[in-house]
């Protein structure tokens, strides 16, 4: 780094001196000064540019998913002026870069600032990952500038940004980095942060009609912006920028540029800032409602005139990946568009976007978008959600007063907030803590089982302690056992495993000629070879297959896959009636990976299967009854959502089938699956807590589902694609809050019912959700009007009480729903299957 960073005061190597004050900054350099003006003392290779300003945490959002956001720096750098200054200083010549003619008729324009300066400046965006050693320099310059008016006193040299010019719609996807000479910038489209569209952003439009990807300023992560914002507040109690809006990172970029070039805010287009505009440019922005967009040559027509909102314009100009994706998805009818347009719950941005004539024609041309829009809208919601938690200067109260489509959520969030435990109780249980709960001599548990379960329910288990604790959670060890008893138990379990396995292992006849057994083996093997192969333990094939006639004889196998196969075959000996069912290998793999001991893993798996066997019954009765219970639960807890699902033919809840049958194994990442399962195994609140997890996931997406998904296939696709995007911790907490709310509802209904029965009122089953929603429904699903949410749990409770009161005899609490209050697990009776 030292090689690229040269100090201005280090002697003869550096001739450049920063101007004395910002007021007479570089503008004032006359052509005459040019000869002496050598921006940078170059290293021997002649490379390196001067970093004047930089700002961190400026992101490109290549896809609607926040996961894909690329953090980077926006920077203003100065390079050595063109080698033949005299060629350029001639009168009447185009003052822009000599090599490329400007497409705009701005010759002889009254451009006010020095084009010579502008041509040495580059506005660049570079991803953090591309900076290498220069990263520290960027950070230093960013922080050195905090609120200051001058570029850093020291000169910082950095490698020149990539000169590749991003051409929208062509390649460059993936790299995104760009640097554009300031004199080639035609305009900046500047969108300050707002509540709906959370991040402020800047889009650079060049004189050649290109636009660069929108740069989003994540101000809450940017140290210098936070510092600058604070400084403003301290200095004049004015946290707002010059425009009277909240100060944000984009203001800084404008401020940098204004030091060197003229930047004019368009009067017709408040979000457009013209850079070094020609007289013609200025005129056209005052006199006629002309297009700003030279990029696509799209003339603004009809309603899409100058007042077109900045977002749609940005999309047109940037050709966001959005539009590409819009063209891909499934069905979309004009009617749907209209539905969305009329729906006040749809984020304003989406509504505006859909009104854009270009987008509308796209919808006609291509099949569409509803799913994509849905996911996109969710992305925005999540982003602003996260922001609301972090934000420092926006009053939380103000946020809550905002009219929100989320409605009922807010209440839930407040309830969720009330569940906050001190952080110690959210920490996983370690082996040390676990050991402390036992009598050191007898090895008997000295705290109550409930206390243990509560801890694990809220905190989970430390990975190093799982091998031990899971054996308890999965009923291998009795809670009242002593250490000696457990040792003896495990020994006999090991013997029993060997005995069970011997039933097929030692029976060569059976292995060779029992058709059923061979079929089972083939099924199991097929699935084991495609279960969690991305986990190192199960990856690779490093041993030859034991049987030459196996379909996997050629690819080979590995010892852990063989163990899994053996355990699943042996489980058939333990549970004779069931037979292998797809999904069982998914349940076994994490247990085996944690135990890494076949006998212990086998018995833990047996414990898990005892809990979940009903998922795999031949008649599917176990799955059906869970889907029915979920159906009732949604009816009770969220009648509006339920009514929507009815209208979308989705009340079979089939879209939760995968989640329920393998207990979210396919929906969460590996580590999260382990955490979720140990939480579920506690039965701390309910033996069927997994259904509250389902409800929590559904509630999280209810607005999207209700606004965008109109058919079963869309709901299914949307839910299927949530896989690996669900945040476990918030889902757990929300599920817990939903459980408590459920419990209150049931209790209130019961109270009401006993009262109603006394006065002889008839019982009305609430099952039907007709076209006219009852008051009860509007009370609970209708958001209880966001504003009523202040008051938290109390408000929620009132809402709950109102459901009961308004409905007269209250909701009918089905038997299925009552099972949810039971902490015992529903097991298959006897050995019927």
């Amino acid at each position: 780094m030292e090689s690229t960073k040269l100090r201005s005061d280090s002697g003869s190597t550096v001739e450049y001196t920063p101007p004395a004050s910002p007021s007479d900054s570089y503008y004032d350099l006359s052509d005459g000064d040019e000869e002496e003006y050598s921006t940078i003392t170059h290293s021997s290779t002649g490379r390196g540019v001067k970093l004047l300003y930089s700002k961190s945490k400026v992101y490109v959002h290549p896809t609607p998913s926040a996961k894909d956001n690329i953090p980077g720096f926006i920077a203003l750098v100065q390079q050595k002026p063109p080698p033949h200054p005299k060629d350029e200083s001639g009168k009447g010549k185009d003052k822009r870069t000599p090599t490329q003619p400007s497409p705009s008729p701005s010759h002889g324009s009254s451009s006010t600032s020095s084009p010579r300066i502008a041509s040495t400046l580059l506005l660049a965006w570079l991803p953090e990952s591309a900076l290498g050693d220069a990263y520290n320099t960027y950070v230093k310059v960013d922080l050195a500038n905090e609120g200051g008016d001058t570029p850093p006193r020291q000169s910082y040299l950095v490698p020149p940004p990539p000169t590749t010019i991003y051409v929208p719609g062509t390649s460059a996807v993936g790299s995104y980095a760009f640097a554009v000479p300031v004199n080639q910038i035609f305009s900046l489209l500047v969108r300050p942060p707002s509540l709906g569209w959370w991040w402020g952003s800047v889009v650079i439009n060049t004189r050649y009609g290109d636009s660069f990807p929108a740069l989003f300023f994540h101000d809450s992560e940017c140290q210098s912006t936070i510092a600058q914002s604070r400084k403003r507040t301290k200095a004049n109690f004015d946290p707002f920028g010059e425009s009277g809006d909240m100060f944000w990172g984009g203001d800084e970029v404008l401020r940098w540029l204004r030091k060197y070039v003229r930047v004019e805010k368009s009067e017709l287009e408040p979000s457009i800032y013209l850079v070094d505009p020609s007289a013609d440019d200025l005129k056209s922005f005052i006199s006629a409602p002309t297009l700003v967009n030279r990029a696509t040559g799209v003339e603004a027509v009809g309603g899409g005139g100058p007042s077109m909102d900045p977002l749609t314009r940005a999309i047109k100009e940037v050709k966001w990946s959005f539009l590409e994706k819009l063209t891909r998805v499934t069905r979309f009818s004009r009617r749907t568009v209209e539905d969305i347009l009329d729906n006040p719950r749809v984020p304003l941005q989406v509504r505006r976007l859909l009104k854009n004539p270009d987008v509308q024609s796209l919808q006609d041309e291509f099949d569409s978008a509803r799913l994509y829009l849905a996911r996109w809208a969710m992305g925005i919601a999540e982003q602003s959600d996260r922001e609301q938690r972090k934000i420092v200067w926006a009053g939380k109260d103000a946020m809550e007063m905002e009219d929100s489509a989320v409605g009922e959520f807010e209440i839930l969030d407040i309830e969720t907030g009330a569940l906050k435990l001190d952080s110690d109780r959210r920490k996983p249980v370690t082996m040390e803590e676990w050991d402390r709960w036992f009598d050191p001599t007898t090895g008997r548990l000295q705290v109550t089982v409930d206390e243990v379960k509560e801890r694990i329910f809220h905190g989970g288990v430390d990975p190093a302690a799982r091998k031990e604790i899971w054996l308890w959670l999965l009923d291998v060890y009795p809670w009242d056992s002593t250490r000696d008893e457990r040792t003896a138990l495990m020994n006999s379990k090991r013997d029993e495993y060997v005995r069970l396995k011997g039933k097929w292992w030692d029976n060569v006849d059976r292995r060779n000629s029992d058709e059923y057994w061979r079929d089972q083996k083939n099924r199991i093997e097929k699935d084991v070879h495609r279960t969690d192969r991305n986990i190192p333990l199960f990856s690779g094939e490093d041993i030859p297959h034991p049987e030459p006639d196996s379909p996997f004889a050629e690819v080979g196998t590995n010892v852990h896959m063989e163990q899994m196969k053996d355990m699943l075959l042996t489980y058939n000996e333990h549970n004779k009636g069931l037979g292998y069912v797809q999904g069982m290998s998914d349940l076994l793999a994490p247990i085996y990976a944690v135990m890494q001991d076949d006998a212990a893993a086998f018995w833990a798996f047996v414990g898990f299967m005892d809990r979940t066997e009903r998922n795999f019954l031949r008649d599917q009765s176990g799955m059906r009854s869970q889907l029915v219970t979920l159906d009732h639960l949604v009816q009770l807890m969220d009648p509006k959502l339920y009514a929507h699902l009815q209208s979308a033919d989705s009340t079979n809840f089939f879209f939760f089938f995968r989640m329920l049958i393998v207990l979210y194994k396919r929906e969460f990442l590996w580590d999260d699956v382990l955490r979720l399962w140990e939480v579920l195994w506690t039965n701390y609140l309910s033996g069927q807590f997994h259904l509250f997890i389902a409800l929590a996931i559904l509630e999280r997406h209810r607005v999207i589902i209700m606004d965008h998904l109109k058919h079963f296939d869309e709901v299914l696709k949307y839910v299927n694609e949530l896989s690996n995007t669900i945040d476990l911790n918030s889902t757990r907490v929300r599920a817990e809050a939903l459980f408590y709310r459920f419990k209150r509802l049931v209790e209130a209904a019961d109270r009401k019912k006993s009262g109603a029965n006394m006065t002889g009122l008839p019982e009305i089953r609430q099952r039907r959700v007709g076209p006219e929603p009852s008051e009860a429904e509007s009370a609970i699903g209708g958001a209880a009007s966001g504003r009523a949410a202040v008051g938290g749990g109390v408000a929620a409770k009132n809402a709950a009480d109102r459901v009961v009161a308004a409905a007269g005899s209250g909701p009918n609490i089905s038997e299925e729903l009552r099972t949810l209050l039971d902490r015992s697990v529903i097991r298959v009776q006897g050995d019927q299957s």
Partner: protein, 205 residues
């Protein structure tokens, strides 16, 4: 329905577990093959836009769990299907033997208006595996398909992308014919469309 500008063709892919349903679908839609697809649980679908005789149609390809235990769930998504693809593994005789029951099960659950003429396509997959492992000859498979009303038959390899494109082209074509005939009979019940008979694969009438 006929006024709908875009046509959505719903195609259901059925067959025993591990015959390559997910792989075939991904090869066709995403031009990708992975040896490590997980066993499908529940159901999912992919969509693809294709041109059939200058008509732009969207194919919605439904991928399902292969274990027969899950067959009863089919009713949730078999309805409204325009074509059913039956897949077996040419190296696995049992998966071939099951084709008939997959077909029957589908017809029961989807209950199309004219089960006799409902379009099926049979795919014998995994022909990339060495010849010595082969369990079902092409001749035998074709005899079966003929006996079931001239079901079109393709031998495919999702892994090597052999015949996948061709097979799905026929699937799309037959599904579109089905969709149009259904539309027609929906719109004008009682009238007889003479072209209808020509559209069908022949022997069913």
């Amino acid at each position: 329905m006929t006024s709908r500008k875009k046509v959505l063709l719903k195609v259901i892919i059925l067959g025993d577990s591990g015959v390559g349903k997910t792989s075939l679908m991904n090869q066709y839609v995403n031009k990708k093959f992975s040896a490590s697809y997980k066993a499908t649980i529940g159901a999912d679908f992919l969509t693809k836009e294709v041109l059939v005789d200058d008509r732009l149609v969207t194919m919605q390809l439904w991928d399902t769990a292969g274990q027969e235990r899950f067959q009863s769930l089919g009713v949730a998504f078999y309805r409204g299907a325009d074509c059913c693809v039956l897949v077996y593994d040419v190296n696995n005789a049992k998966s071939f033997d099951m084709l008939d029951s997959w077909r029957d099960e589908f017809l029961i659950q989807a209950s199309p208006n004219f089960p006799e003429s409902f379009p099926f396509v049979v795919l014998g997959n995994k022909i990339d595996v060495e010849e010595s492992k082969r369990a079902i000859s092409q001749k035998r498979a074709m005899a079966f398909c003929q006996s079931k009303g001239n079901i079109p038959y393709f031998e495919t390899s999702a892994k090597e992308a052999i015949n996948v494109e061709q097979a799905f082209e026929v699937i799309a074509r037959n599904a579109l014919a089905q969709e149009e005939s259904e539309d027609f009979s929906d719109d004008f019940p009682g009238t007889i469309n003479i072209n209808l008979d020509n559209d069908q694969s022949g022997c069913a009438c």
